[in-house]
Symmetry: D2
Amino acid sequence: MATNIGVIGTGNIGSFHVRTLSTQVSGAAVTAVFDVDGERAKALADDVGARAHATADGVIVDDEVDAVLIASPGPLHPQQVMACLDVGKPVLCEKPLGVTSAECLAILDAEITGGRQLVQVGFMRRYDPGYLQVKGALDSGQIGEPLMVHCVHRNPTVPPSFQADMAITDSVVHEIDTSRWLLGEEIVAVTVLAGRKSPHARSDDPQLVLFETASGVLVDLESFVNCQYGYDVRCELVGSEGVVNLDGPGLTAITKSAARSTAVPADWRMRFGPAYVVELQEWVDSVTSGVYAGADAWDGYAATAVAEAGLRARAQRTRVEVDLVERPTFYPGPR
Amino acid sequence: MATNIGVIGTGNIGSFHVRTLSTQVSGAAVTAVFDVDGERAKALADDVGARAHATADGVIVDDEVDAVLIASPGPLHPQQVMACLDVGKPVLCEKPLGVTSAECLAILDAEITGGRQLVQVGFMRRYDPGYLQVKGALDSGQIGEPLMVHCVHRNPTVPPSFQADMAITDSVVHEIDTSRWLLGEEIVAVTVLAGRKSPHARSDDPQLVLFETASGVLVDLESFVNCQYGYDVRCELVGSEGVVNLDGPGLTAITKSAARSTAVPADWRMRFGPAYVVELQEWVDSVTSGVYAGADAWDGYAATAVAEAGLRARAQRTRVEVDLVERPTFYPGPR
Amino acid sequence: MATNIGVIGTGNIGSFHVRTLSTQVSGAAVTAVFDVDGERAKALADDVGARAHATADGVIVDDEVDAVLIASPGPLHPQQVMACLDVGKPVLCEKPLGVTSAECLAILDAEITGGRQLVQVGFMRRYDPGYLQVKGALDSGQIGEPLMVHCVHRNPTVPPSFQADMAITDSVVHEIDTSRWLLGEEIVAVTVLAGRKSPHARSDDPQLVLFETASGVLVDLESFVNCQYGYDVRCELVGSEGVVNLDGPGLTAITKSAARSTAVPADWRMRFGPAYVVELQEWVDSVTSGVYAGADAWDGYAATAVAEAGLRARAQRTRVEVDLVERPTFYPGPR
Amino acid sequence: MATNIGVIGTGNIGSFHVRTLSTQVSGAAVTAVFDVDGERAKALADDVGARAHATADGVIVDDEVDAVLIASPGPLHPQQVMACLDVGKPVLCEKPLGVTSAECLAILDAEITGGRQLVQVGFMRRYDPGYLQVKGALDSGQIGEPLMVHCVHRNPTVPPSFQADMAITDSVVHEIDTSRWLLGEEIVAVTVLAGRKSPHARSDDPQLVLFETASGVLVDLESFVNCQYGYDVRCELVGSEGVVNLDGPGLTAITKSAARSTAVPADWRMRFGPAYVVELQEWVDSVTSGVYAGADAWDGYAATAVAEAGLRARAQRTRVEVDLVERPTFYPGPR
């Protein structure tokens, strides 16, 4: 009766998903997993009563897999998503849908050919109660028309393997999606400016990223991957009649040693852990109902296309326009 | 493979639990329900694929029920809990465990005789992230020894059926449990003072309730069931080296019309809904593991005994000492 | 053209007043000072261009003194205030007006006999912007009728010379005045309960003080003079339609090392320094206009009478009723 | 003994200064005023015991005027400041020091020729306790090196007389000064981007203004003069080790009707009124001591030069470099 899930990639985020699906989601069972590190996959599979496959395709074609969650490295996503579409199985793909927009467009074609939505992209912030309140405040009309958005996205540090471009593709991409989703429109241009370089940074960091939307809303984002102090994500949406602010989620304050302090989350897991649980629950429910509410393949394509423009904008330190194909009517567009 | 749950009582809280167990809890299925309103029970049962029984006992003895959740009116709890103990099934009983401490003591005896823990009492605040942070701050030692606690518990309004005593038995009882749990010790005396009476109140309201614990910590609580503006629960624990504050859970603020505002929850469901989900998940997990971390029968007994003292303290407007039996070694005591 | 002020007592608070009057108050000049420590008085007098007298009376009768500020030890206040009344000079007396209510009553008699208001008592919180907002919220009617008040008054530490009674007479006395002033009515009974004793305290500390007002409003106050972390004064006024909170005055927050922190004032000077400036400016203006808006002699008497009841309540750990004389029509009463 | 002040311009801000100097500043007396509206000047002069002059020069050369405060329309500032320098009198000039940088440079020349500092420019935020805390946090080293600054400057509405350029010259100019002062360095380039236009605005509004400083710090500023809801000025300084935030100065919160709300100031007077008092007190003290700590003529010139660049940047929607002359050693530069 449970929906059987196969998970590809059991690293940091993949193993987190496997455990969440197995212990916190109603109606779900992880039945198959794959990872290039076979031992890691085997150990995790044993823990949750799943089978460890020797290949990703093994998971996808497994008869005991109803739907697939892809948490492998980004460059592998398109081929694996396409394989899911080939066998007609719903797939939740961690971002990015594809590293290039061309790869994403191929997925769109395949999904349209199949005739029904099977792809969801893992933009979990859409399930965060705080972001939902921001969207609710805007959609209710109480702050008027959206005019500007100010965002902050800070990570304490990045590992040595972190490449400069990843600030755009791995971090800023979340604000690309939240901006499109909150405002319900496409981003048409990107500019990336360097702030003064942190002594802790190897490449330009922090950076100021500017998005312009189709209707002229200006979104500015401080992207800072070496802020040292914690994982801090904030958003202020400025409307014509008022403003809504998403601050850090401080539940308690400790007053001690001459200061009143609220903890900042240490990492994405502490900040967005609950959002992932909701995302997985709603996705599992969607597999049954066939109705998906999260980011779809078009959203995944648009995010990649804007990130591509962002990479050029960053490299050239100039404003770059986003080049989107005409949206197929199959997809409803940003909402 | 799922744990099959029978639910007794499908009113406000009972139906909330049925839906939560069916849609948000991993490894759980609601297989049987009962309510005095047979039609209501039937409709809900059909929704979630359960069977509606003609009696509460029918649920308890149903072979397809592994564990029972009791959400019936308080006076029925003791008999129903005892019936669960008779058949050796784990039971999560909404508060109160019993209306009188004598009833609770009978349950303790029965559980001890059975030789293993089967009873959990539904004090959901123990699963609230904010309360857990308060407890964490104290247990970590960073605020020193606990000295005082200031609590606020406000409801917007109460229905016409609300009796004056219910402020103690239905509302204050939550702070009885959180005080014992946070401080890890028993409450030894209660005083209830009347504030100036609200024009919206039918009986004394707000009231100031004082608890004294075994080690001398003084807990004061504003109990106000007609505050008009929302459901507002707060807690400040004063330690010898610092203070920890649990404020309302405001994620976002709207600035408009000359003010910056954060919403106050409208009711307990908005405030503690997520805590109930965690409570049910952990309880379902406990049914399998046999290890329960929530409030046990002793906690339920102690809460009722303190509430009894509170009722006398309120009626007589005097300080009343709590009369607890010696704690059986079967129970670990407040923690 | 400036109003010439004589200051009696140039200790901690007295010298603070002398400097404030000399550098931050319009239309004021300090022309005479006295202190038992003659050298200290002389040095301060030289700094601000004043004359140091050999006695307090010398200041009071000095022809170049238009008005007197008394910042000497409390037991000396009544005699010095009476001397000011004898010569018909306005006097701002630091709290307490008198150590006993009998002393205060004698002052009331003398002032009434003189036929015009000359006495103001230095309850500076009445000039704090935050307290004024609390009073404004209540007086505007927007939170309805006042029903309860929750107060916190914490000091980091107290010196070895601190006597247990001083928690009532020096610290709690501020909430006695603010409660009367905010609510516009007298306090009729006091209870003082001991919390668990801080390991840093020599006598019971923290304590929970309860005031009952004429209309039945219940005021609770945590008095904690060894809280370690800072000087923290807060107030929450609960009305029938809403609540107003006076929190600490945090202007900025620093986010660092995994926490977002706001500084707590280190002492009364940091917290209420600006209020003292306003108090002195308005008092100096009153000397010219003859119209006083601050705490008057009746307020000073009432504060002492309630503090006397508080001392008995503390000693006997019982509720003590406040015994006020009938208010002379000369005084408008609390407002 | 008091310092005699002459005030030129008794409109909105000028009359505010006259009253502040007369009633809240120690050691100051307003002895002379001028305004083009002679009746307004006369009425105000009578109120505070000053003489109303027929011309601005009449004030400047008045023997009973020790120092001059200029609050006339901006275009008149340079000639009036020069007239003060001619007679060697200290002058506090409201911003701008001059409408063009050429005018400002002429003032610098004249002051240098005179050989001592006489000019201060009225950037009052340097006296705001909140901004001082931000500067203190940076200067203390606790947040590391400054990397980015995020600013918000909102006005509820603007009058019909408001010209589009005034967003830069009258509003943004405050952040020009605070940025230079906080960071201790010059602004070298300005960019002005249009957000989506508010339906309440006649010209582009809100706008996003970007400053680049000599060391590469990027300052972004939302300038929004039609935000409807209040006067809201905020600042977040991002350092390499932490962040400091200047939020609105909320002292109290009212919880009512399902929301907890803090008032936003209605206008600059409510927000920065206390800062003006400190500014005037310190300036009056400086007239006596000869040591000025506020913004000097160089700061006034730099602010105008950056604003000029801002006007071009706004008109051309492009990045414009700021063209500053070499700083005379007479001036210490931004600090």
